[in-house]
Symmetry: C2
Subunit: 288 residues, 2 copies
């Protein structure tokens, strides 16, 4: 029952980001990221402030555009389009959740692929889904799941399961696992006999967003669980796994301290990647 | 060992397409599809001529743009972009395979989503991969696989396998199966113990493109096999399944006569869908 902490992986990622950003700073340039808020979710403000502190410690600028919970779809899309077009920002990110009247899919389609630090625009998803990750920016949460799982050995040829094929985590994660040669089984709310279905899987990724969803009855001794759940419960952050399963497992990523920590760092690694893509495009006259 | 023929499904689809096109013809309009060739593949020419005959029998126009095997990437992309922009064509399709020097991904990204009758543009793939099929145009081959499988009962809650997560068939098929609530296992060339992995699957979809790939050793009696393989062998078209497995199966789609027949019809259903999407957009001023 070895915990897989994200701390060391996150530190290495941020260290490299800092070096890359320092090269730009050395040329008198402070690359900047734009974060757009469109909700009245109090947690989002906290997350954004935390990102801002990290950004500053890494040498890049981060500007928040708080459009409020009443913003229209059209205005949100125009803002994202304008920021994607602007030479002032090299990364654009839309903080979730959005106010309920807004359409996330249409909003995301207005973020230019080469500035999409969350890797959720249709162009990036499609590159990942077609196995062309080297041309894509990878969504940070599923990418963090992969990195933590790989601390336990390569995924090629392994039987693995993804519980919860959601838009932002499960779906891109399935593609990334296929790209790495894993034999993936996708478990949904309609899956019957969950324990039987999971039995032969060495690694179980759980990304549903419901605390305590993954219980003893579903687990076979010696499995590895990577927990992408982030559930705000009275006494703090909790994952999708019920801690009662930990003693049965070979290894598991805790919440907090696992996937989330690496995810936060990967947003900035993606920002560096976005800078590179834009530099390449500038060199090739937009034909990259 | 009941064969699942595609003939009846294809006939119903074409009947509805003919009715829809007749409504346009009645208003003096002949909708038109553009098919772009960029290879020296002799089979492609045969396929295109067959599509042209079907198109004419359904009341729509089909124009072939044969760019030859020497066309540059830039010229191919410009042609696709121009046809997507042109009011003369309501559907645009790129015939595969392309000449080897051409990049299919970049080419497909130049086809407007609302004219993409093969459902392979990044925007359509991304809609399918995020569970928003109702806004998408579905790739005909995986869609045909789904329709044939559903003749044996709904897919929700069923354990199914996809062998071969390729770009044009397997990948979108995986998404479509998840969207229908199936419990999907993806089998690749790296999968160990294939028979064990497939054992609990009621339906096996095979889409690798290698004749005889799926043999007795992989099968458990009573399974259903949907065969999306199209392999040109000396004595005709063959699927990925070795016919030696047929007696073991509950049902199977033959090649030829199964998936391919339905696929051909669905291209024209997609053309009608493309017409609808363009009419909607015209009504909403391009904000649809």
């Amino acid at each position: 029952m070895q915990p897989i902490y994200g701390k060391d992986t996150a530190r290495d990622i941020k260290y490299n980001v800092k070096l890359e950003i320092a090269r730009w700073n050395g040329r008198g340039i402070t690359p900047r990221m734009a974060v757009v808020l469109a909700s009245s979710d109090p947690a989002s403000l906290v997350y954004v402030q935390s990102k801002k502190r990290t950004a500053e410690s890494l040498g890049l600028g981060l500007e928040v555009f708080d459009l409020g919970a009443e913003v229209s779809q059209r205005e949100l899309e125009q803002t994202l389009h304008r920021l994607s077009d602007s030479a002032e920002f090299q990364g654009v990110m839309l903080e979730f959740p959005l106010a309920p009247h807004l359409d996330p899919e249409k909003a995301l389609s207005r973020i230019a692929a080469h500035k999409d630090v969350e890797g959720l625009s249709p162009a990036n998803l499609s590159l990942i889904a077609t196995g062309r990750e080297k041309d894509a920016i990878l969504a940070p949460t599923p990418h963090a799941c992969i990195l933590l799982a790989e601390t336990q050995g390569p995924l090629i040829g392994k039987r693995v399961a993804v519980i919860g094929p959601g838009r932002t985590v499960g779906r891109p994660l399935i593609s990334m696992l296929i790209n790495r040669g894993a034999t993936v089984t996708v478990v949904t709310e309609h899956t019957r006999e969950v324990q039987t279905t999971l039995k032969d899987c060495e690694v179980i990724f759980v990304c549903v967003g419901r605390h305590g969803l993954l219980r003893k009855a579903a687990i076979t001794e010696g499995q590895i669980v990577i927990d992408a759940g982030i559930n705000v419960i009275n006494d703090g952050l909790k994952g999708d796994a019920d801690p009662e399963i930990y003693p049965l497992l070979k290894a598991y990523s805790p919440v907090p301290g696992g996937v989330g920590v690496v995810t936060s760092a990967l947003i900035f690694q993606n920002f560096v990647r976005a800078l590179e893509l834009q530099a390449q495009e500038a060199l090739t006259g937009g034909q990259a």
